[in-house]
Amino acid sequence: MSGSAPILNMRDVQFQWPGRSSFSLNVPAFRLEEGETVLLLGESGSGKSTLLSLICGTLKPASGIIDVSGTDMAALSGAGRDRLRAEQIGVIFQQFNLLPFATVSDNILLPLCYAPNRSARAKKPLAEATSLCRSLGLSDDLLGQRASALSVGQQQRVAVARALIGQPPLMIADEPTSSLDASSQNAFLDVMFGQLGEIGASLLMVSHDPRLGKRFDRVVELSDIAKFESHAA
């Protein structure tokens, strides 16, 4: 991995839902450089979930290359893709991000269970989780609480801490702000970008809200990079 290598590089990716010839997604070329932040704009139903699942390796393309940190996700087995995701990608969802029954600290440390290298990078996982929480504006006494006891805004910050623990080079966020009000949205993005800058990770965030665009290095319309075909039968 040289400094100029992209953190995500998709080429000629073709995906078809198994057994449904009417639905396909093609990504001719899409790159994300190291440390780059990109906002991907797309309405729901435009294939963004499929695109994210391809990048994260829970779906496998029919052909093409999905390079994540120098490893072709598309060439790996199911278990290999799960491992690559665990090691290299931090994921934040729209909502229902956390395990409600688990403590905040267990939620944050969860990805390390499946990623030995990332776990080794974290050195002292609990200390790192604590400092991440502090810089995200979460007080220490929240760490031992159950995730379900937190407010939505707090939960999303915990989700950021979880995505960033062990310093993965790529962070994927799927509408993380859609369940927050405008002021919480800004506060959330402030702390998220602050932490991203510290770690130097790349961010690919999906949203339908173009107003967020000014914070990102690049804004991309999903329809520009991906051809999504859905013929009603």
Binding site: L52, P100, D106
Partner: protein, 416 residues
């Protein structure tokens, strides 16, 4: 940490999980309880007689002879004549010999006539002797030694008079010859506890005025006159024999079985017990099978609970997947949860068993003379608990495999 998460996840569903645990616990308690009663009954039967090499009676079935002579269950069809008894006693292989005379009762308890030798040679539970807890063994003709259950049930103490009834469950009493309680035996956990023991001569004495099963009218021989009479028994119900060398047991048994003057039967108590177990074995197996099926039912219930929880847990599984968990990790987690549930259920079942034992022990002892010892779990019970945990894991594989398929299809996103 995965274990901690599994426990937290179970706690979050505390109500349904605790119901499942309760079902498993009750079924395991039932299973272990049945086992306990089964082995306890077997042990208590096997402990009833020890040190006796042969039991001799009139020719009938070996199980029947064992039942009436040792367990006081059922009746003898015939007696052994006193002449035959003496003939056996004179044989060179015989080290000791104890006659038993049954047929009379006191209230709900049976009366047994025997000799002093009975107290010397009758052993129970690995060679333990019968010992009086109060008073002494019979010295007078009309002395009786009673078992501890007799004393407890009828509230007797040493010196109390008792009247023996003719036959079993009979209203004809031997009123003319009241006995006196000379001693009360220590509790043995054997049928001796429920027996009134008198001398062979006493049995003869109370039947002095009786002819062919009925009291001869107008006759009432005074007690003093009876004491002067020759009270040598005319017959005995059964005979306990000890041989000098174990090697001679079979020779003596054959000798008695082929005794030409009278049809006799000599049995080895251990062999007859085995025969008895052979008979009750089927019922025993059925009982174990039924209680095992109850455990299986509880585990199937757990399987159903896991199945029904899968849909609401799809988001949880998606989160695990997003964090890098493989579908096989999801499968493993569900199996782990099931094993934890089964383990808690099984251990709780063991606790229920001890609780049940503590309450039922005196009741069972009183009602059936069955003493179930409260001991730390044996290997068999630990094996049962482990088997339940393993069975729980196997049963949970079915819903876990469905979760595997679901999480493979869902990936990180749950649509719906």
């Amino acid at each position: 940490m995965i274990v901690r998460l599994a426990i937290a996840s179970l706690l979050a569903r505390a109500l349904t999980v605790s119901m499942t645990i309760l079902a498993i616990a009750l079924s395991v308690a039932l299973f272990l309880g049945v086992e306990k009663v089964r082995t306890g009954a077997k042990m208590s039967f096997a402990d009833t007689i020890s040190g006796t090499d042969l039991i001799v009676g009139a020719r009938s079935g070996s199980v029947q002879l064992l039942l009436y002579s040792v367990f006081r269950i059922g009746n003898a069809t015939n007696n052994v004549t006193w002449e035959s008894y003496q003939e056996i006693a004179r044989r060179s292989e015989v080290e000791w010999i104890v006659p038993i005379s049954l047929g009379d009762s006191h209230r709900q308890f049976r009366v047994m006539g025997t000799t002093k030798a009975f107290f010397e040679h009758y052993k129970y539970r690995q060679n333990r002797d019968l010992e009086p807890a109060e008073g002494a063994l019979m010295t007078d003709l009309f002395d009786a030694v009673i078992g501890s259950d007799v004393a407890k049930a009828l509230g007797y103490s040493v010196g109390d008079p008792i009247v023996v009834a003719h036959g079993l469950a009979s209203f004809t009493e031997h009123k003319d010859q009241p006995f006196r309680v000379s001693g009360i035996l220590k509790k043995t956990g054997t049928p001796v506890d429920r027996t009134v023991i008198v001398s062979m001569e006493a049995i003869e004495a109370i039947h002095v005025d009786w002819k062919s099963g009925a009291k001869a009218p107008g006759q009432a021989t005074p007690v003093e006159a009876i004491r002067q009479m020759d009270l040598t028994p005319k017959s005995v119900t059964a005979v306990l024999v000890g041989v000098k060398s174990p090697l001679q047991t079979f020779a003596l048994q054959r000798g008695i079985n082929e005794y030409p003057q009278e049809p006799l039967l000599a049995i080895l108590p251990g062999v007859a017990l085995q025969e008895l177990w052979g008979i009750v074995g089927i019922a025993e197996t059925a009982l174990v099978a039924v209680s095992a099926m109850v455990v299986v039912t509880a585990l199937v219930g757990m399987m159903a609970t896991i199945f029904s929880s899968l849909n609401e847990r799809r988001r949880e599984m998606a989160i695990f997947r997003a964090m890098g968990a493989r579908p096989s990790n999801i499968l493993g987690m569900l199996v782990l949860e099931a094993m934890l549930t089964a383990a808690v259920g099984a251990v709780l079942g063991l606790c229920f068993l001890y609780l049940g034992l503590a309450t039922a022990q005196p009741i069972l002892d009183n009602a059936f003379g069955l003493w179930l010892p409260i001991e730390p779990p044996n290997w068999r019970e630990i094996g049962v608990i482990l088997a339940v945990v393993v069975a729980g894991a196997i049963v949970s594989l079915v819903p876990a495999y469905r979760a595997y398929r679901l999480s493979l299809a869902d990936g990180m996103m749950v649509k719906s």
